[in-house]
């Protein structure tokens, strides 16, 4: 069991740069340990390609422990592959069958242009954060913890939203390429806490304006994002975002 291996076929998107047309390339990879993560399998593929004198597949990755959100890959038609609640680095080869063909594509969204192969530019999400996803405080001595009392249920709710790692799976999955789940998580996380409430109205207006400007689609409440979100962010936060936005615009 421990040393079980499988042979797989890979259909990987190769694209030489932002302006290349791109195409699928097929590879065979034998003796892949089922205990390997998907990224370790990609490492094996790249070692093989390098030893054959070919160009390795470019893909994003960093922490490899499910917290940085870098490892964007659309695997067999789903963001981060067939498992729910995980990123690609936390996906394991035991979920694939011997002899299976696995299709690997980059995130596809107008707002996430391909840099190379499977690597996309997700900095549009950073632009949205820069537009308002912060609180303004004076620097100085660090305040004591718990000087602002926050009820446990409020803190937990804010933390549920703060779990978002900015991976972009919601955008990649959504049929409208909408970033509403991401923005909802960021807006809610701050709007729930007293420190964030001061700038809440300005924040939500600026972040939505930026989101629209950068070419993300508009939400039609299909709910696909929450199914594929590795951190289980609920679309109840999208309702909260709508509430915050309507409030900021329609209430005097």
């Amino acid at each position: 069991m421990a040393n079980k291996t499988i042979n797989i076929k890979l259909r990987v998107w190769r694209q030489n740069g932002p302006h290349d047309k791109g195409h699928f390339e097929e590879y065979e990879l034998n003796n892949v340990p089922t205990a390997a993560s998907f990224l370790e399998m990609m490492d094996l593929l790249n070692e093989k390609l390098i030893s054959e004198g070919k160009e390795p597949v470019a893909f994003d990755h960093d922490c490899r422990e499910g917290i940085c959100g870098a490892c964007s890959m659309y695997i067999n038609g789903r963001a981060h592959g067939p498992a729910t609640g995980v990123t690609t680095c936390q996906l394991h080869m035991r979920l694939f069958k011997d002899g299976e063909t696995i299709t690997v594509e980059p995130w596809r969204a107008k707002a996430f242009p391909v840099i190379k192969d499977l690597m996309v530019d997700r900095s549009a999400l950073d632009e949205i954060i820069k537009a308002g996803g912060y609180i303004s405080v004076n620097t100085g001595g660090a305040p004591d913890a718990n000087t602002i009392p926050i009820p446990k249920d409020v803190a937990s709710r804010a933390f549920d939203a703060a779990n978002c790692i900015g991976c972009g799976a919601c955008v990649a999955t959504c049929k409208n390429s909408s970033a509403m789940l991401f923005v909802a998580a960021k807006v809610s996380h701050l709007a729930l806490l007293p420190q964030g409430q001061v700038e809440a109205k300005e924040r939500v207006k600026k972040m939505i304006a930026k989101m629209d400007e950068l070419g993300f689609g508009s939400c039609t409440n299909t709910g696909a994002c929450e199914v594929e979100c590795p951190k289980g962010i609920s679309i109840a936060f999208i309702a909260k975002l709508n509430r915050e936005y309507l409030n900021a615009n329609l209430m005097p």
Binding site: R11, G22, F24, Y74, N76, G77, R78, T103, E105, R108, A109, K110, A111, F112, P113, T173, K175, N176, S177, S178, I208, A209, M211, D212, G215, F216, G217, S218, C219, T220, N221, T222, G223, A224, V227, E228, S234, I235, A236, I238, A239, K240, L241, N242, R243, E244, Y245, L246, N247, N249, L250
Partner: protein, 223 residues
């Protein structure tokens, strides 16, 4: 305000408000239609009341506006969202277990409803407004015999009946997603209320689709 209405959420807000208005309208319309099953006089009196009522006269243009806003924004959002995917689309997608079929096909369901609506208006609304309806007298009051107009249409041609049934089914599936979605768009939802809205919405959708769908079949096959 212009900025708000041009924002993604502002456009959805208009969809939601116009959609909720249409939901109230179809509820009223289905209730009225169900009187067809009771008998000619009951239905004709109700139809006469609706045709001469001041409130309904005021609501008529607002209803037309509701449809127009809803349909225009549906196409604006749908088309602009389509291009947000970028130059290349996915070679493989598995959407089955991510979202409901209705939620992914709102525009197609809407287009079926729209086609039905055009035929429906040509069948009845046009005739009632611009003549060609037989007259009758109920309790000494002269009025349109709308009952005969409706029933003779439904008995004339099975294809018309099937189009009406198709329209009813499409509306049912449209409402399956639309009902809860409208409240989500307004921000009136969370984990608990989502269950309540989807349950209420499904009950409403089934009642509406059944009422609209059964009437043409009843007159073709039973009466």
């Amino acid at each position: 305000m212009a900025g708000f209405l041009n924002s993604s959420i502002g456009k959805k807000f208009l969809m939601s408000i116009s959609g909720l208005f249409l939901i109230l309208f179809v509820g009223l319309h289905a209730t009225l239609n169900s009187l067809l099953l009771i008998g000619p006089d009951t239905y004709n009196i109700a139809a006469h009341f609706m045709a001469t009522n001041v409130f309904i006269k005021i609501m008529e243009p607002i209803l037309a506006l509701g449809f127009i806003v809803h349909i225009i924004y549906a196409f604006i959002l749908e088309i602009s969202n389509y291009y947000k995917r970028g130059p290349v689309r996915y070679a493989m997608t598995v959407r089955r277990h991510q979202s409901t079929w209705s939620s992914r096909n709102m525009i197609w369901l809407g287009i079926i409803i729209f086609v039905f609506l055009a035929v429906h208006l040509a069948n009845f609304f046009w005739k009632v407004k611009f003549g060609g309806v037989p007259e009758t007298t109920v309790n000494g009051v002269k009025m349109h015999d709308t009952y005969t107009l409706v029933v003779s249409l439904f008995q004339a041609n099975i294809w018309i009946d099937l189009l009406y049934v198709l329209g009813a089914i499409a509306l049912g599936f449209h409402l399956h997603h639309a009902f809860w979605s409208a409240f989500q768009t307004l921000g009136w939802s969370n984990e608990k209320w989502r269950k309540i809205w989807t349950t209420l919405g499904d009950i409403y959708a089934v009642i509406i689709a059944f009422t609209f769908g059964i009437i043409p079949l009843y007159f073709y096959f039973v009466k």
